[in-house]
Symmetry: D2
Subunit: 364 residues, 4 copies
């Protein structure tokens, strides 16, 4: 029942399938007067776009966005902003042979169990194609938090397979998106050495008709203290829902995360102290959130992403008629989801921050 | 702004502070005709109760529940069920000395930043005391899913500090709550050997005026395929929000979780096959959820819980007047949150399953 | 499914039946720092209370309110405020004889159709007793709008049967609640002449074992321009829902209302002009709302209330076993609902204004 | 803040302005398997369309709808259905001269007060153009209730100015949409005599550069007993909100409505009796709703619509710079809103019925 809306004060509603006419998002609750330009939205869509590098799916989608409402003279009017991205390269024939096969790791079977009917073309609504709407909405959220308090959301890859990156706290978007030589970094990992290894691993995995998982980290900077609500709508809870709602994410942690499980309180607690008349903590094991509410320290969270389920390698499965069969996905898929996951995750984090910032205005 | 409600079709709203008159929960949307007895609710509250063993806080709360509405002749009427649990052992003087000190790891500072005013007694709304309302509501959710489809939610501790447990898939509630000799197991870990080590560690940590973190696993059995919504309200997303909204939780994963990051797709995908005319998977690395929708396999998730922030050991911090100070919490606190965390987590998982089951009736 | 919550930014959730242990309301989203005293809430409850005059039901309920949470040191903390009003004079035996008879004009039959199970004591959840929770919540809303912008909500009776009152625009609460001689006016109609006639009519109707309908008017003063949302959540739409959700209300209009149907645009439009540097209208046929958004002029609305359905007079009906029968309600009922309706309607209007004021902070 | 969504189980979100690229609606929660054809949607849009007769605005809009998602092979898939209607005849120059003039009876001033920024072209989001989205969504709701329980929603005009129609209970859509001679009835009043008088009055009013109000009645047939929720989400409350959210509506009543105010209980109550083993009432003064819940009798409600605010006649007003001015709207407007209001009101009523039917499945 009706689950395609996200957020409370900033409310995002999406619609669209992988191979239908297009994907649409309505962003309701954007404050009036924010500069909204299609170029900024397009730039984020381009970071998510298929075909952006040799490491990702070669599906060719221009992902051109059209703003349909809510903007007048380049500024938001306070009324809902609708953005349409039409689908272009919808090779439905790629999927026709497998329409009644339940692809391992995919939603085919659970959708049938839920709805009894299913758009089999490219995963339909279950396709990660729907994230085009999230990224478009996230571009608006980024504008809101930048104008409101200079906030910034930055994501990057910290793990692919067994390769782990070292990322300094002060990492910049340039370091994420570019290699040291200034060329585009298709991995979106700002540790040059690890990045090269990841690139090689992804290529190797693709050649072996396989896929590989990884971890991305997202940081929210400049977020004021006081965002989040005490009990259910804690900032950490809404961030977790936001991130876990993205396809293929199987784990979420913030601050010290799972490592805190083997830590003592005396070693885990961050001391408060004063700097420039402001309460801060020297360390940030708490990831910028205490009691579910932002502390003014940077938000720091990580998402575990499973290996792509679509594989060119043959796998055993069953059909919707309950017959055993095998399947080898012929569609064009990412051997590793992480590089394109980064803008999706940034978008969701920006939406949560903007939503909670608007909710907090209520108290001030 | 208004964040004390959880769920869509089954809607839980809570109120209450640690040292106020009591905690209250309204469960709206319970279907009519469900047997609701105060005893079943009380039994769950007793599992969460302080003072239940030597391992937990010695605060003495009877946690007696009173059903105020929505039940007639022992059955739910379909109207909202309100449950009141009065606070008894509210030793506010324990807290008076630290009212203006920002306790490390606690919400004191972020609440001040948010609200500009704060009930300092025992953490107020930020205290884990609010989970009494969740557990009461969860007892109703457990009834709903048991009556509807024989569903069961079972939690247990799998890690304390560096001690990891081995838990068989078929673990029972008896194995969780009792030691092999039939006595009450205060740790709620069903691996007898690990459990003993955990118990020793928790006692050692307490003696050292410290605290320790851990991990709990929760399994949802008998959950039919088809629960969850495609995009934002995925079952995994709502479970993540539910679990992450509990105090002290810093990480969430389901199925293979973070381990999936270093895995290949060919090794991660669970093959579908047929058993007794039903589509199942041989393995359950997907944790019972694909495309955000339940598959009919057991739900399997884990939560990382940080070490208790309140410490009898002295820590450095600041006051709300921005003066440096030190603090040693004199209140009675759990050296390890995990044993009492188990019923809280079960409650939240049961609420999500019941909510999504009611939402799914919409499609059938 | 879950329909006991009202409001977006200020969110009111209620529970309770006529003859259960009590009625409870949770007000979530009250800004921090508002002075909340039990006395102000009690004063509003007393205006709604049964037995307050010879004109209303003689059921004896002290309607004592207890604040359970969300208030510290006399001020709201920003966390949910729960208020409990226990039921006292619950003479369930009054109803036992009619438990399986469908009372004409009542919800007995539709509840059975909906839930298949029903608390027959005093109407259960369908009893106007639930409005005790609305009035308690409304008292908080009145405080919020008074502190925020000096807003005031005032209701009064303008029609009982065929008797119509003339009420000047500047009417005061004193003129509503008192007769010219200073004594309590049990009718709550500020037109002394009409009020006397109404009083006589209500007494006559009661003697004849009958009941009578009427109309109340509610005015919202000091409401700033800009409250309400463009499309679905128009101020007029949320006011209509608020008022129509009160038991026995069968009509709603604002400004000129139904009279506008026979009016021409040139006679209906209110000219804008400037007074003291502010845009106002000379007349207020628009009732303070244009395009669904407040204009800064007083809100002006009316509610039509049907005659009490419970009658001591014998009426024909059927039982839940589909047998013909007759019924004469022996319970103690109001011969005219209007005098006690006034505080209920004020409460709902105050809740809508406070909610939309908090929503509007979002834009500023 | 975010007010462009309506409904709980069937959730409608709209976006779009009068003179922007188009209007969009996302219908989330439509059950899977419903036959959705663009033709049925288009037929409803045509009933709402400008230029359909000499009585309405001559703005020329094809109002062609495009289904963007949620439908596969002619059936709903259970995922959100997005429908786009592009704007064509947007003569923005018509409005440029009045961009800074506050049109009497319009939202220009209140939008400025709310947002501080405004799309002045044709009323922007405040234009009745947004109802194109409601009518498209309503066409889907009509399909749902027709398939689910043979439900039908029918509206017609019962009053224009002082002309009142007599409409038999068994009125058909053909009698509404056609004159006795079979030709199209542009008034949508099924009383032939009154209809002719209304037509003449509307033409007269237009010639006099004025406008006129009226009343429409909407009936919901075949609605099962048990829809609606006990307290806030009563069926009558949600219907009131739905209808009052439509531009220009200033009053709502159901059943006897305002006439009940001058009626006695003994004359107002509808007796229950049994017909064909079903509980019904002989009369329907209760308009199909008791205790806020449907009784199985036809839903019967009326809406008062004010005279069009846009007038070719000169009116006094002020500018946004607080200067006195005059205005005579040159745009093409309806002299009477009622004929085109009928499909809008039907759509909103159908949405409420479908929503509450889906909510009720929860209990069964």
């Amino acid at each position: 029942m009706a689950g395609s809306t996200f957020g409370r004060a900033l409310r995002v509603t999406t619609a669209g399938e992988s191979h239908g006419p297009g994907n649409i998002v309505i962003v309701d609750g954007c404050p009036p007067g924010i500069v909204i330009d299609a170029e900024a939205i397009q730039m984020e869509l381009d970071r998510r776009r298929p075909g952006q590098s040799a490491l990702v799916t070669q599906r060719k989608e221009p992902d051109h966005c059209e703003i349909l409402s809510g903007v007048y003279d380049g500024r938001s009017t306070g009324t809902p902003i609708a953005i349409l991205v039409r689908n272009k390269d919808a090779k439905s024939k790629d999927y026709s042979a497998i329409a009644n096969k339940y692809r391992p790791g995919h939603a085919d079977h659970s959708y049938d169990a839920k709805f009894g009917i299913r758009d089999p073309r490219g995963g339909g609504r279950a396709s990660a194609r729907e994230t085009v709407s999230r990224v478009a909405a996230g571009a608006i959220a980024k504008k809101i938090i930048a104008e409101a308090f200079g906030g910034e959301v930055l994501g990057y890859v910290v793990q692919v397979g067994d390769i782990h990156a070292e990322v300094p706290e002060a990492v910049t978007r340039e370091q994420v998106e570019s290699r040291p030589d200034g060329s585009f970094n298709p991995v979106r990992c700002p540790d040059p050495e690890a990045s090269l290894k990841m690139e090689k691993l992804i290529k190797k995995v693709r050649k072996e008709k396989d896929s590989i998982g990884g971890v991305a980290e997202i940081v929210g900077r400049g977020v004021p203290a006081g965002l989040g609500e005490p009990v259910f709508d804690k900032l950490k809870a809404d961030l977790a829902k936001a991130i876990m709602s993205i396809p293929a994410v199987v784990g979420f942690e913030y601050g010290a995360g799972f490592a805190a499980a083997s830590t003592r309180g005396s070693a885990h607690n961050d001391e408060f102290h004063i700097r420039d008349g402001r309460v801060i903590t020297r360390t940030n094991r708490h990831g910028g959130i205490l009691g579910g509410i932002s502390t003014g320290m940077p938000l720091l969270l990580r998402a575990a992403v499973k290996p792509t389920s679509s594989l060119p390698k043959e796998q055993k499965t069953v059909t919707s008629d309950l017959e055993p069969t095998t399947i080898a996905t012929k569609g064009r898929h990412d051997p590793c989801l992480l590089p394109r996951f980064v803008p999706m995750a940034e978008a969701m984090v920006a939406l949560v921050i903007a939503d909670h910032w608007l909710r907090q205005k209520h108290n001030t």
